[in-house]
Structure formats: C-alpha cells, structure tokens
C-alpha cells in the first residue's frame, strides 16, 4: 500500500533538491527491487503493470536491466607476477615463528590490547604505590661513608641525594669533603 501511494501520489519526484531531475528515484528503486526479486508481491505486480503500460517505466526497466547485466559481467583482472614475487620475498624469512607485525596491521591486535589494558593499569598503579614508599628510595652509602669519615649530618644529607657510586673512591671522598665543608661554612 505504502509503495503504491509512494509511486502514485508522490510521483514525479527527482533526486533531492532538483525537481527537474529526469531520474525518478522512487521509480528507479521500485524497478530495481522488482528486477532483483526483492520487491514484495503487490509491489512487483504494480511495477510489472506499469512497465507494460508506461513507456517511461519501460525505458527505466530496460536501462536498469542492461546496467545490472553489464555490472555483473565486468571482468576480474589478475595482478602482475611481480606482486606474488614481492609477497614471497616478504613472507619467506618469517616462517611459523614470531614476527614483528607492521604498525598498519595493528587493528588486528586491538581486541587483545583492550583485554590487556586493565592488567597493565593495575601493574602501573602497584609500581607507583611501591615507588611512593620512602624506604625504597636510594640512600646510597650513607652509613658506610659517614661512619668512616665522620662528616656527620651534612655528608649524610649530601649523599642521600647524590649518587656517587660511579665515582672513583678518591673523587667520591673529595666531593663529600668539599660539599660538607662548604655547607658547614
């Protein structure tokens, strides 16, 4: 019923915004659905009757039929042999083992990444909590150096915030002595 109303009451109706358009969108849709066997029985009967009686509908049906036939018969072409050679070169060393996935293939890995996201977030939170504990901050060699050299609180404060572990022993002791002396001043 709706199709009948649409085809009879609202016809002619061209493409949106162009009332002079020769292509009638509703007629085209109805004829295509009928030709492709998608139309319901009443619509198909109506369209067939119009095709019989109306030259415009007949013309539309002929054009669409030819268009669909040509479309379905368009040939498929093969790529050149170079393509397989290049594919072969790229997959040859990969084998069945692990291989790096190109960033452009990343969309295939997204579901896995989303599943792993909560675990990664939890691990990061645990690390932050652990790092926030004062006792895990590096204190370097406070006890050993202060005890052996007697520089006291200044040396302890300096060493607590400077990593001298990579320095040679004379350099390390010299630096401690220099800064401790300066701070004492």
């Amino acid at each position: 019923m709706w199709n009948w109303l649409r085809l009879n009451v609202f016809e002619p109706m061209g493409l949106a915004g162009d009332p002079n358009e020769t292509v009638n969108a509703c007629r085209l849709d109805a004829v295509r659905r009928t030709l492709e066997g998608e139309a319901e029985a009443d619509e198909a009967d109506f369209v067939r009757a119009r095709i019989q009686s109306d030259p415009l509908w007949r013309q539309t049906a002929r054009t669409l039929e030819a268009m669909l036939k040509t479309l379905r018969g368009l040939p498929l072409s093969a790529p050149s042999n170079l393509v397989w050679n290049r594919v072969g070169e790229r997959i040859a060393p990969v084998g069945a083992g692990f291989s790096w996935t190109a960033w452009s293939d990343g969309w295939l890995l997204w579901p896995r990444a989303f599943r792993l996201a909560p675990a990664a977030l939890a691990a990061f939170t645990l690390f932050c909590v652990w790092w926030a504990q004062p006792e895990v901050r590096p204190t370097y060699e406070i006890v050993e150096i202060t005890d052996s050299h007697g520089f006291g609180a200044e040396a302890e404060a300096y060493i607590a915030y400077h990593d001298l572990s990579s320095e040679s022993t004379p350099m390390r002791e010299g630096l401690i002595a220099y800064y401790t002396y300066n701070w004492s001043e």
Partner: protein
C-alpha cells in the same frame, strides 16, 4: 561470468577450510594456492576502489602479507572472503585518503570537476572529455563507478561484481544492514544518473 573466489568457497568449502588450516600451520605451498584463488578478486576490488593499477598492486601485496601474518587469528567465524575483503577495503580507504590529500594540494577545494581525484590522478585513465566519447557499455559502467563516492562505489562493486549478499557487505564495511540497503539505493540513483550523462545505451551493440 567469471568464477569468483566466493564461488570456490561456496562449492568447495571443506577444501577451502583445509587450505586455510594448512596456511595456518605455515605451509607456504598452501599459501601460494590461497593467493592464486583470491589474488584476482583482491586486485580487482582494490583496482576499482582506488582507480589505479599501481595502488591496487601495492594493496594486493600488503593484503596478502597481512593475511599471512594474521591468518593464525582467523577462527572461521565468518567466511574467509569476508575477512579478506574487509582488509582490502580498509587498505583501499587508506590509499584513497592519501590520493585525496594529494588532490587537495593540487587544485582548489572548491573545484566542481566531476570524478574528483580518482579520474585524474590514476595512471591509466583518460580525461572526462575522452570518457564521454567511450562507446563500450563496460567502459561507461567503469567510468560511472569511478565517479561515485567512496562508500557508494564500494557497495556497488561488492554487490554486483563480487556477488556479495547484503549481510556480507554489512560485515565487510562494518555497518548496519539498513545502512547497506539505503546506501545501495542511493548508489543506484547516482550510477544511473552518471550513466545517463555518459549516454549509456541499453541496446546491445
């Protein structure tokens, strides 16, 4: 009509499954056979989506390398061709965006030249003026398809040239069934109009 990969899958589904399973174990001979079965479909789809044989060959190459690397994750929950075509459409969309960027740099944005980037940047097409003189119906159809927008073109090609169902197209383009149907209607109107402009003749020559 050409035998498409879909026909092969439909007719020889168990063999196709065996072939894919062999590929999943790393069997390169099986993969070469898979390439032979599908390379025409992949190349033709990519060619019609991008309008350039050079881009289509590049996409074909990238698609099969990607398939080889990711085939282990294919679980047979959808048709292999659907999975494969989804990769092709994504790659072609990337290529199309690159072409559009090049096109945007070459001409003012307000250009109203028909055909857009595809008709001019492709390496093996003629100018629209020449296209108007093409008499073959196949050439006219190809020209009219090239003048469609990216989404409408994909639907027409998948539906009629690769013989996909509405459900498969929705799966490939990752959109709803209703969207596919409405886009197809719109694509038909645009294609019909383009063909009329090109002087499409329904009579056999």
């Amino acid at each position: 009509m050409n035998e498409t990969a879909k026909d092969i899958v439909t007719r020889n589904s168990p063999e196709e499954r065996k072939l894919i399973e062999a590929c999943q174990t790393g069997d390169q001979t099986a993969f070469e056979q898979l390439y032979r079965n599908y390379s025409r479909d992949v190349f033709s789809l990519a060619y019609r989506l991008t309008g350039s044989s050079q881009d289509a060959e590049e996409i074909t190459q990238e698609v099969f390398v990607s398939v080889y690397r990711n085939l282990g994750r294919f679980q047979f929950q959808s048709a292999f061709s659907t999975w494969l075509y989804r990769i092709v459409v994504r790659r072609a969309a990337d290529a199309f965006r690159k072409i559009k960027k090049v096109w945007a740099r070459r001409v003012p944005l307000e250009t109203d030249e028909p055909g857009g980037p595809i008709a001019y940047l492709s390496d093996d097409r003629e100018t629209p003026r020449d296209a108007m003189q093409e008499s073959s119906r196949e050439q006219q159809i190809e020209r009219a398809i090239a003048e469609l927008g990216e989404k409408h073109r994909a639907i027409i090609i998948l539906r009629y040239i690769h013989d996909m169902s509405y459900e498969e197209i929705a799966d490939i383009l990752e959109c709803r069934l209703g969207t596919v149907k409405s886009r197809l209607n719109r694509a038909h109107r645009l294609l019909h109009k383009a063909l009329m402009d090109l002087g499409f003749n329904e009579k056999e020559e």
